[in-house]
Each structure stands twice: as C-alpha cells, then as structure tokens.
C-alpha cells in the first residue's frame, strides 16, 4: 500500500514538471525543426535564423554584453559584499537598504531613468557637463553598447552582492588570523586568503550575472534599438512580429539555450570540485577587519554604486512622474499631479494591470513554492526513486532565458490540445516555471535545516507523516519560507521577458503596460506607472520584513 501512495505522488509531481518544464522545452526544440506552413521537418528555420550576418551579429552582441556585465557586476558587487560582510565600514544599514532598493526597482524603469540622464543631446548629465565646461556635447551616450552594459549591470549586481556576501559571511576569522599572525597585511590577507576562499561563490555569481544579462529583453529594447544594434532577445521579438515566425524564433533561440546550459554545467563543476566555503560547518567566529581611514573611501565607493543604480534614477523617475513636461526640469511650475491621477484613475488599464500583476505574482509564487517544497521534501526524505532526476528538472528552468521559455510556452499552449493562451493561466504557469529554480534552491536549503529526527519523533509518538508535516515541519519552516516567497514574488511582479509574448489585453501586467507606453514616448506617464509599481512593491516588502525579520534576503536559515 505504501508503494502505491508514493508512486501516485511521484506521478503527480512528474506530471506537474512535465507540464511546466519538459513540454514547453520539448515543443520549442521540436518547433525549431518544423516548417512554418507544412509542419514537415526541416533545417530551413536555422538557415533563416542564422543565414543573415545581422542575425549572427546580434548573438555576438549578446555574448559581449553578457561578459561585460559579468565583469562589471563583479566590480560593483564583490567589494561591496566584502565591505559589508567583513569590515567595520560605517553606514552598512544604508548600503544594504540601497541594495534592496536596487533589487526592487525594475531594470527597464532604471533604463528609462538613465535615458533621461544620459541621452547624448538632452540627458541631464550631458547638459550639466556642457554648461560647466562649455563643450559642444557631453560625453555620455546611453544609446550604446557601454550604455547598455552599464544599465544592465546596475540592476543585476544585487545578485552578485547577495551570493558573495553569503560566502564571505561563512569564512571564519581564524582563516584570516592564520595569515595575519604570519605577518600579512589586511590587503594581502584579503587578496590571498579571503577572496580565494570565496572564489567558487564569486564565479557562480559571475555566471548568474552573465545569464541574466543575455536573457534580458526590456532594457535592450529600450536602449539597444535606438542605439542601432540588436541582441538576441530583441531579434527574437522581431521574429514575433506579424506574422509570427515561431519556428524561426525557436531555431534562433537554440544557441542561447545551449550557451546557458554549458555555463551552468561549468558552474556546477567548479563548485563541486572546490567545494563551498564551509557551507557544512558553522563558519566559526567572524571578526571585522578594521579599515581605519580607509573606511571612508570604501563607503564612498559603495554609495557611489548605489547612487548610480538607485538614488539618482529614483529622483529622475519621481521628477518625471510629477512633471508636466519632464524636459523642463526641476521647477515649481513644472509640477503636476495629472500624470499620477491619470494613471491611477483615468486609465482603466493601470488598475487592471496592477491587480493582475500582484495576483499573478502571488499565484505563481505560491505554485512554485508548493511544488518546490514538495519535490525537495520528497527527494531529501528519499520517498521516491530517481529523486535526482526530479531535482534536475526542477532546476532546469534556471538555464532557460525567460524569453525562450515564453516562446516554448507559446508553442506548447497556443494550439490544441491544451490552449492556455489568452487566459491568466499561461502567465501564471510561465512565471511559476521561471522562478521554480529559486523556489527550489530555497526550499531545499530550508528542508535541509530541519532535522529529520523532529519528524521521526512525531511519528513514533503516533502521528502520521502528514501530522508531523503540519505540526512540526511547517511551523519551523514558516519563517524561512516567507523569505523565499518574497524572493520569488518580487521578480515575478516586474517580469517582462516572458510576459511580453504571453499577455493579452485581458491579462496585461504592469511591466508590459510600462513597456508599451514607452513606444509612445510619454515618459511622464511611464514614470508614473513605474512609480506605482515600485511603491506597491516596497510596501509589500516592508510588510514582509515585519513578518519575517530583516535577514530574510540573506538566506540565513533558522538553526
């Protein structure tokens, strides 16, 4: 009888994973080989996709962007993580809040802000420069490859920060003490001991930043197109112009998929070999490095980065949201509530989109977490055979760029037998799949932190496994899970890459609304919508803090 129950459970989970992960991916690969009209198998799509140099160039551009963003993110994130984790730098709370703010801010909103700041002719920074130096034109041009890299890096460095900080937190001071008793200075110790110990995490973070960068859609659409160059994601969007050439789009996205799989595999090899820094142990005591006078430049650097990513763009967004005409700049006669009023009251699309955004994000987060928890629990307690396979499939969406996943979902669920297109479900499921890996990683860690003996104790006293889960495991996990929920929820609210293909008028979300408005050039309206999104998200995160405590984002699991 027990065999039957666990088999049923396994079948259920497999079905869920099939629906969410395997089917879209399989359909994507299959469609890439299908002729658009006849359905016959052909390599023609690949020929079309990569036949033109322009298309290949887009792929090359994506790779350049990915590598550059990875490097820049390391430059931004690693020193900040080191400063916050291991030194006595002042103002850590402020820096941490600013990093959090950066995480909440949608990257396409940041891109808009930077367009207002660094447009080559009218950007504020350039205007200030020309008025101060009297030059013809300012040096900043956001519509360029460096501009694109910069904006993407601004909004992906929080990942690097969090990963690296966690690794630094776990290094015991004893490691550094051993070096200093042998005469090494602070900087030498950091270079020769601390950094190498955190190297696997740093490399992992680099790979994550790379993957993020090449899979982005919103920011390149805003910046690269006026800058006259394409990347893979904007090229894919073009393939979806009417009539949508889905097979060609599928073929075109294959290399992207392969690259991400390769990198992911690379990352796994790196970490498996070197081993995480004392993730198994308690890490030992951690003393802070005394920086002396150096702490001011260090703090300055941290604040500089967050100013660029958060403070200044926020000011720009707020100004534009309340401006009659943003180009008129800061003046009292340029202030109006008209945009906000329009966005909140006169435009029914905003209300609907806001409601949809948070509803879908909540549904997707709950779905992803529930599935992830179920799989993590079952795999760790070894209740089913082939648990490793379940884990692999659950983590697979990590390597699939959002836009590619959306195309897969589109290919799989826009035609019979299961038509989800046009419903909210296709969005919810796509989001849930997209964020399943994050949910799984957190669930896995959370369940690992619960000693199985706690459940055994409940069972031996007469409680069923379900009772043990309900009365013992769930309450203990609650805190950690609230944190995991928020880590999935926030990205889900501003997800653009996968939503852009799957939404319809009835299921529009704020990210798409914002993006659609950007083609009208109405930055005041756009900024108002962005402000609404940020404010509501911040409110929810604050609530989360209250419920869960300030450490949730650092994934410090309850001991």
């Amino acid at each position: 009888m027990r065999l039957d129950r666990s088999t049923l459970l396994w079948a259920l989970l497999v079905a869920a994973l099939l629906l969410l992960v395997v089917n879209p991916l399989a359909r994507l690969v299959w469609t890439s080989f299908q002729h658009a009209d006849t359905g016959a198998l052909t390599l023609g799509n690949y020929a079309i996709a990569y036949g033109r140099w322009r298309n290949v160039e887009a792929l090359v551009n994506s790779l350049i962007v990915g590598l550059s963003v990875g490097v820049l993110d390391l430059l931004f994130g690693v020193p900040m993580a080191w400063a916050v984790s291991r030194t006595d730098m002042p103002g850590k709370g402020l820096v941490w809040a600013a990093v959090l703010g950066t995480f909440i801010m949608p990257n396409y909103l940041g891109a808009v802000a930077w367009m207002l700041l660094a447009g080559p002719n009218a950007g504020w920074l350039n205007r200030i420069y020309t008025s101060v130096t009297g030059a013809e034109a300012g040096p900043f041009n956001i519509y360029s490859m460096p501009g694109l890299v910069f904006v993407i890096a601004c909004y992906s460095f929080p990942y690097v920060f969090v990963f690296t900080r966690t690794a630094f937190d776990l290094i015991s001071s004893e490691m550094e003490d051993a070096a200093s008793t042998l005469g090494a200075s602070v900087w030498r110790t950091t270079r020769r001991v601390t950094l190498p110990l955190a190297l696997p995490a740093i490399l992992g973070a680099f790979i994550v930043a790379f993957l993020e960068a090449i899979a982005l859609f919103g920011v390149p659409a805003l910046i690269a197109l006026p800058g006259r160059f394409q990347v893979v994601t904007t090229m894919l969007w073009q393939f979806f112009e009417f009539p949508p050439k889905v097979p060609v789009a599928a073929a075109y996205s294959m290399p992207l998929l392969l690259i991400t799989v390769l990198l992911f595999w690379l990352q796994r090899r790196l970490i498996a070999r070197k081993g995480y820094v004392a993730l198994t142990g308690k890490g030992g005591e951690r003393r802070l490095v005394k920086l002396g006078l150096a702490r001011w430049p260090v703090l300055g650097y941290c604040l500089l980065v967050t100013t660029l990513s958060f403070f200044v763009p926020m000011i720009v967004v707020v100004q534009a949201a309340f401006a009659k005409a943003w180009g008129r700049g800061f003046s009292l006669d340029n202030v109006t509530l008209r945009n906000i009023r329009f966005v909140l009251f006169d435009q029914p699309a905003t209300r609907d989109a806001t409601w949809n955004t948070f509803l879908y994000a909540t549904a997707a987060s709950l779905l992803a977490l529930t599935l992830a928890l179920a799989i993590a629990y079952i795999v760790q307690r070894r209740l089913v055979p082939l648990g490793g396979v379940l884990t692999q499939v659950a983590m697979a969406p990590f390597v699939i760029p959002g836009i590619v996943l959306a195309i897969g979902f589109y290919a799989a669920y826009t035609s019979k037998p299961l038509v989800l297109y046009g419903t909210a479900w296709i969005l919810v499921l796509a989001f849930a799949t997209r964020f399943l890996p994050i949910a799984y990683a957190n669930s896995d860690a959370a369940i690992r932190s619960v000693n199985p003996e706690l459940e055994d104790a409940a069972r031996i006293l007469g409680g069923s496994r379900f009772l043990a889960l309900r009365r013992v495991v769930a309450p203990i996990l609650a805190r950690g899970l609230a944190g995991a929920f928020i880590l999935v929820f926030i990205p889900a609210t501003r997800e653009l890459s996968s939503a852009i293909f799957l939404y319809t008028t009835g299921t529009q979300v704020l990210s798409v609304l914002l993006f659609d408005k950007s083609d009208e050039g109405n930055f005041e309206l756009l900024s108002s919508i962005g402000l609404v999104l940020v404010v509501v998200t911040v409110a929810l995160v604050m609530t989360g803090f209250r419920l869960v405590g300030r450490d949730f984002m650092l994934r410090r699991t309850a001991t």
Partner: protein, 358 residues
Amino acid sequence: MSKLVLTGVSRRFGSVTAVEDFNLTLLAGEFVSLLGPSGCGKTTTLRMIAGFLEPSAGTIALDGQVISSPGSARPPEQRNMSMIFQSYAIWPNMTVAENVAFGLEVRKRPRAEIRTRVAQILEVVRLQHLGDRYPQELSGGQQQRVALARAIVVQPGVLLLDEPLSNLDANLREEMRYEIRRLHDEFKITTVYVTHDQAEAMVTSDRIAVMNAGRVEQVDAPRALYARPRTRFVAGFIGRTNFLEGEVRGGEVIFDGFTASAARFAETPAAGGRVTFSLRPQSIHLHRARPATSDAAVIVVGEITQRAYLGEHWDYTVRPAESALTLRVTARPHEVFEVNEKVWLEIDARQMAVIAEA
C-alpha cells in the same frame, strides 16, 4: 513473556550489509543495550525496531505478532513505541508542556487527563516549573529530560533510545545514566538502548548485546560480559584486557614465560591445541615479595616496564621474566612501584576467560 523478538534480521544498503543475522529476544520490562563502535549497525537495528526501516531479511515480532518483515512493516505511528533521538528532537516551535502533551493528543486523550499526566511526568523528571518554556531556553540536560518525559508519558510498549547521552558533558552523562535506569525501574518499560559507551551500557542494562560490523558478538548480563567475554572483540571492547595465548598440553597450559595447571581456570580449556585467554588488568596483583602459593593464583615474576599514575589507580605495564609478553596491571593508589623494579605477579586464574577465536 517475550515482548520483542528479532529473528534473523538483516539489512542491506545496496552492496553494503549494515546488519547481519541479528537475533534477540526481550522479555517484558527488560532493559537491553545495543553496544558497539560506530558503524556496527546498532542504530540501523534500532530504526528497524522502530519501523523507520524495513529489514532485508528476518522478522521482528511484538507481543507475538510480526510487525516487520522484508517488503512490509507496520508504520512507526502504529507500533506504540517511543523513541529518544540523539538530537533529542524537541520541537522548537512548542513549549515543554506542548512537546510532552503531543503523544497524548495524538491518542485523543481528554484535555483534563492530558494536563494531569503532563504535570505528573514533569515532576518525575524534575522539570515541573519549566512547562511553559521553549526548548531554546533550556540546557542540554533539561532538553534531555523533556525528551524522556515526552517518551514515557504515553506509556509505550517499548522505549527506544538512540545514544541519548552523547551530547552531554561527562558529569551530566553520569547523572543521566542513573536517571534513565531509575525511570525504567519506576515504569517498568521494555527498553532498547543504543550506545557506544560501555560504561553507560553497564550501568543501565539488564543485558547487553555487543555488536561489531553488523553482527552480534555476545549477548549477556553486564557482569557475565565483563568476566566471561566470548570473543576477542568483546573482551577488548568492554574494559581493557590482556590477551594471553597458550598451548594446552597434558593438563597444563603453556604461556609465553610461564605455565599454569589447567585445573586452576574456571573454564577448563579443551585438550590439545591453542587457546587464548582474556585477563583483566584488575585480576593481577603486584607484590614486592613472592606471595603465598594458592590454588587460585598463578605466580609469575616480572619487571615493571612502564607506569602511569591516574589518581584513582596506577596503570603498570609488566613484563614477566623470560617472556615477550607485556601485561597491563591496575593497582591501587598506594601500591607504588618503580620502573625496572622486580615484582611478583599474582594472577587470579579464576578470572581468566577463554576466548573463542573468530
């Protein structure tokens, strides 16, 4: 009346055999320890008794009914057993009282009864004023006692303990040993106790099953285990011992350096062939002058090669004359000898046990 019977129980994990052909019968109210080094299979056996694992072969029967066999096992929640885990497994999200009440709630006892019984058991384990505390606020020893209270209050048919004292410091361990035995005596629960610490096993148990590499080496009462170890492993694992190999020839046993008449020994070794004895260090007494001859003793002369003073006793290493043997001897604190001093060893032959070589 036998309460718990394990017959031919084995457990394999892939190609590794953790437990092999385990046979044991517990009478109602008995306290039996499974003693052995880590990896010997004792915890695996315990978990099979609890129902968390199925045996690969053999059966486990409770009150005459088979509850575990290959391919089927009654789930743990239906065995009416209690278990104390190495980590205590006290639930951090519940108070002490709630922890203890859990088993009674599952058994759907009326609220008033639960309250009374919880209060009673907390008094028994001397935690009566800590009912509303959370586990994080308690010391290790107190958490231990919460685990005990929780396990006992449901009046289980069998109580299982998995190395419960290994996380405590030495003094506390000693105190808790007595405590566990005392609770057992008061409630007369059939108990299976897993440990690697022989002192714990000796103090608490009616019988001890010594395990090594998945197999049972010997099951006996503590004194019999100590005095009459059956195998080299048991002799060496329980306390320290000297192994003496000898040859039986014509009514005498010939050792390296001395001979003794076969009649002196408690167990007469089989005639002809080699035999190994286990000789406890306490069974040798040291004298400055040759002691009087007796039927029970074997007198050998020798020399002190090493000594160490441990406060409660001396630990001497003695080499008998014309022998390559090194004998460990335990002497009382006032029996002081110098290294290289010549001594007389009075060996109590009745304490020597014949070892069956594997």
